[in-house]
């Protein structure tokens, strides 16, 4: 049978299975291959909370969604067009999201009585007619995988484990993808030649099955997107942060120090940086978050490009330490990869509800710089920017990322190190004129390293006298220093480039976002602009200080909308500072926004007179 090839512009696929089923690998292999094929894309991995939940349980379902297109892609997609469900639990958890009429590829063998019960189905959904709204393709993926690797005489556990590549093979065929990247990957990944061969056979068998079986009458083609020429790679937010810090170290000439305590979803930055000791990176897995931030303070004092990485509960523990860093006026970057809170919350789910903690979570008037990354690739530049500000302004900078950005990957244009601006750092070396709390044009005090003869001095968390840094309880001095600590932030704002507005530069509505809402807002704004409304979109990188031009920009629009994955935090800051009637559009479900939600919110505010 000669099958039809249909051309489509955009497809969203979700791979879903047991956490042991290798869905994350499947997803990222499909991502890499799709990127190589020249599509634009965005991804969303969704892990279970458990390390290994019981096989077949709802709690153990692991998902990976990718949207790819010949057009620009802003989000991983609201409702997937295709759902690959490796077992009943995966179907149960994910079916509600599948687009009406969408394609469901189900691993029929996994729909055993036991698994069906376990997933909470009364009857087999593949048989009971409940899936009539979808294009259902039942394939005995497990069985066919076992057959494909039969000759290799693997034990059953190992053989069954190859089934994700069988599924990937099917999807590769469906979308006309080249398998070669994955073939290379399998070869490099599986040291055991038997396992390697088995996975290769499963992949091939899956592809072949798609091609030959009567199940599918057509395959699809997604044409190359118009992508700026250059060198690309896939990058996740945590990778990009790690690389950004390595780059900042190189650009500044400083040695990198990371003091950290593991916590989901920030740990990967520690893992990544720990593996680059060849670049002189010193990573210190501290006994807790307090020691982590304090060790970084000690390192900063000693001349390091000092970092500490954590998530919300860890940021709470670092509060006192960050206050100290602020008083010591030392450069320090604190990364908070936010997760759903409060308290332990939902560690594997995303949220952006630590903004106010970052702003105010310290005793006293304790302003620090706050900056947020808006996408995985943007993490790289945000990391460099945070480091630049920290060392040129001698100040702690809190960098906010989140679980979604951290774990999802996007194709990213690789920058050339040689073309990135250097980060100028100058240590104070002169005995003459040295005062520990004298200030330069940025109101930054001198960075004078231990080991510098004649520059011996003491700093501490007690209020200090202007210029000398000696302990001072003087009333006027305290007011002066308190205000200086705010003015120091203003110096950052004064040096920022004009704020970038996407969409319309004036008009009906300005949508202001920060962090991971970038993609959905962009998509939503573009969608509604098509119907004629004049809408601008500002994704704020700087949250403290705000850019100087923000007030004027807001005034150019009739309304301001602030979608956030929290119950309204940035919106509070904007309203308080500018007395602008910015409206909050909150969502707090441990999930990023969908394009449709943003569209809804925009329409709602535009319609409300």
């Amino acid at each position: 049978m000669q099958k039809v090839v249909e051309t489509v512009s955009t497809v969203a696929i979700r791979f879903a299975g047991d956490s042991g089923d290798g869905m994350q690998v499947t997803g990222s292999q499909f991502t890499d291959t799709t990127a190589l094929a020249g599509n634009d894309l965005a991804t969303f991995p969704d892990f279970p909370a458990e390390i290994r939940a019981p096989a077949g349980s709802l709690a153990g379902v692991s998902g990976f969604q990718i949207k790819f297109s010949s057009e620009a892609v802003f989000t991983p997609g609201d409702a997937p067009d295709v759902l690959v469900a490796m077992n009943p639990a995966a179907l149960k958890v994910n079916l509600k999201d599948l687009k009406p009429g969408g394609m469901l590829i189900a691993n029929s063998e996994a729909f055993t009585k036991k698994n069906i019960d376990y997933a909470g189905y009364a009857t087999n959904p593949l048989e009971d007619g409940s899936l009539t709204g979808f294009k259902v393709f039942k394939a005995d993926i497990t069985g066919m995988t076992l057959k494909a690797v039969e000759e290799l005489k693997l034990n059953n556990r190992h053989a069954v484990r190859c089934k994700n590549f069988f599924a990937l093979g099917i999807v590769y065929w469906l979308y006309g993808r080249e398998a070669s990247h994955t073939v290379e990957w399998i070869k490099s990944k599986f040291k055991d030649p038997q396992l390697c061969e088995a996975n290769l056979r499963a992949l091939k068998a899956g592809y072949h099955f798609g091609e030959t079986a009567e199940l599918f009458d057509r395959s699809y083609e997604v044409k190359q997107a118009k992508i700026a020429p250059g060198r690309y790679r896939n990058i996740s937010g945590n990778e990009a942060l790690s690389l950004g810090f390595l780059a900042a170290a190189e650009l500044s000439g400083l040695e990198l120090f990371l003091g950290s305590y593991p916590i989901t979803p920030a740990s990967d930055i520690l893992h990544e940086l720990a593996s680059h000791k060849q670049l002189g990176v010193r990573t210190f897995q501290a006994e807790d978050e307090i020691a982590a931030v304090c060790s970084a303070i000690g390192a900063a004092y000693s001349g390091a490009l000092a970092l500490t990485t954590t998530s919300g509960p860890g940021l709470a523990l670092k509060s006192e330490g960050i206050g100290l860093a602020l008083m010591l006026e030392l450069p320090l970057v604190i990364v908070d990869v936010q997760r759903a809170g409060p308290s332990t919350g939902m560690p594997t789910k995303t949220e952006q509800a630590d903004l106010l903690q970052a702003m105010y979570g310290r005793n006293g008037e304790a302003p620090v710089a706050v900056i947020a990354a808006k996408s995985p690739g943007d993490c790289f530049y945000t990391a460099i920017e945070a480091c630049r500000i920290a060392v040129t302004h001698m100040m702690p900078v809190i960098l906010l990322s989140d679980g979604f950005i951290a774990n999802s990957a996007e194709p990213w244009r690789i920058p050339e190190m040689a073309s990135l601006p250097k980060i100028p750092v100058k240590f104070w070396t002169e005995k003459e004129g040295f005062q520990p709390y004298a200030r330069d044009e940025n109101l930054a005090r001198p960075w004078a390293l231990p080991g510098s003869p004649g520059l011996e001095h003491r700093i501490g968390g007690i209020e200090k006298e202007h210029l000398t840094g000696n302990i001072s309880y003087d009333a006027a001095n305290h007011e002066l220093m308190s205000k200086l600590r705010y003015e120091r932030l203003q110096k950052i704002a004064d040096a920022l480039p004009p704020t970038e507005i996407e969409g319309d530069q004036a008009g009906d509505l300005l949508v202001i976002g920060w962090g991971d809402t970038y993609g959905p807002i962009q998509a939503g704004v573009e969608a509604v602009r098509k119907s004629g409304s004049k809408i601008g979109h500002v994704q704020l990188r700087w949250l403290n200080p705000f850019p100087n031009d923000l007030e004027a920009i807001m005034k150019r629009y009739k309304r301001v909308l602030v979608p956030e994955i929290n119950l309204g935090q940035l919106v509070k800051l904007l309203r308080a500072k500018y007395l602008v009637d910015a409206k909050s559009f909150p969502k707090i479900q441990g999930q990023p926004f969908k394009e449709s939600e943003i569209v809804f919110a925009i329409k709602q505010i535009l319609e409300a007179n």
Binding site: F257, F284, A291, G321
Partner: protein, 344 residues
């Protein structure tokens, strides 16, 4: 690879020219008149110039407490950090800069109450820093609450009926954390303290020195049994490597172990000097046994309880970096390029 070297190089001070005065700052010392901290400061300022280290290479890191004001009075680099966290701050300093001589000054509350965890971890990691804990068995700066080293029954501001918390013995905790250098001295015993400080300075790794210190305002006389002329020789025993444990005005008393390894006080003449417990500062068991001698039943040991060698954290860290540099030689650009494809 790394193109820039932006770190300044200095002509260091010749350590042989340094005197005590070089280590005195222009700040008024703000401890209460009569506080034991003064004597400790004086001994430290006497010892520092003798160690062959240029003044600018010293960093004093402290937490919060009366004792933790110490760095302000040392004309060296210094950080007066936050309560309990000095070991963590100092770990960062030393991890970055193994060339520096890093000293932590802390109190019994700072080190063992809020800071107990960092205390334990710095010892087990054996970061090469010197940790001086001024133990006055009280919270001085907050005006007189009992501390983790205060004895049971101690009446203090927060314990009007007497403390019910069994105290922590800092030496025992340090041994439990497998510290490599552990010693004890007194504020007022100038020569002994100086010797201990020198030994601590020479040690590669975390050197923990407990210094009994009189807080004459909130806990006056806590150590008077050990410091008063009439009582001290019967209540203090100086332990020394390779020597039998003897004390008393004329060293007429000694410590021996009975069959069940329990220490007992014996009369040297009648018991026989050769049967006394001979101290070995490299033996963990010896340190463990002696660490459990408490007043008034036993004399209180001072001196070096333990001195053994184990690679320090910072040395191991540098070693890993050196090895890594010899191994794979990726640049940041190469890391960025990983998994690249080209769009034309």
């Amino acid at each position: 690879m790394r193109a820039l070297n932006i770190y300044p190089q200095f002509q260091h001070t010749d350590p042989s020219t340094q005197t005590r005065k070089d280590f005195v700052t222009d700040q008024d010392v703000r401890w209460c008149p009569g506080c034991g901290d003064y004597s400790i400061l004086a001994q430290v300022q006497r010892v520092m110039p003798t160690l062959g280290i240029p003044r600018e290479n010293y960093v004093f890191v402290s937490g919060i407490g009366c004792s933790s004001r110490f760095p302000y009075y040392m004309e060296t680099f210094g950080i007066h950090s936050i309560h309990g966290r000095a070991p963590a701050v100092a770990t960062g300093v030393k991890a970055m800069r193994p060339d520096l001589s890093v000293w932590v000054v802390t109190g019994d509350g700072d080190a063992l109450s809020i800071g107990g965890n960092h205390f334990m971890h710095v010892l087990r990691r054996n970061v090469d820093l010197k940790l001086l804990m001024f133990n006055n068995q009280i919270y001085g700066l907050t005006k007189g609450q009992y501390s983790p080293t205060s004895p049971v029954g101690k009446k203090a501001k927060s314990t009007p009926m007497g403390s019910i918390d069994y105290p922590i013995d800092p030496i025992s905790v340090a041994l439990g954390a497998n510290g490599t250098f552990i010693a004890r001295s007194f504020d007022v015993h100038a020569s002994h303290l100086q010797n201990i400080l020198k030994r601590a300075a020479e040690h590669k790794g975390t050197a923990f020195v407990e210094i009994y210190q009189n807080c004459n305002i909130f806990n006056d006389g806590a150590f008077s049994l050990l410091t008063e002329k009439e009582t001290k020789s019967d209540h203090v025993i100086e332990i020394e490597h390779g020597k039998p444990l003897r004390f008393g005005k004329n060293l007429e008393k000694g410590i021996a172990l009975d069959a069940s390894l329990t220490p007992k006080v014996v009369d040297v003449a009648s018991y026989g000097e050769d049967k006394l417990f001979v101290y070995d500062e490299t033996s963990e068991i010896a340190a463990l046994i002696v660490s459990r001698l408490h007043a008034p039943e036993f004399p209180v040991p001072i001196g070096v309880f333990r001195a053994v060698s184990r690679p320090s954290y910072d040395a191991l860290l540098v070693d890993q970096i050196d090895r890594a540099k010899k191994g794979k030689r990726e640049t940041v650009q190469e890391l960025l390029d990983d998994g690249q494809w080209t769009v034309k």
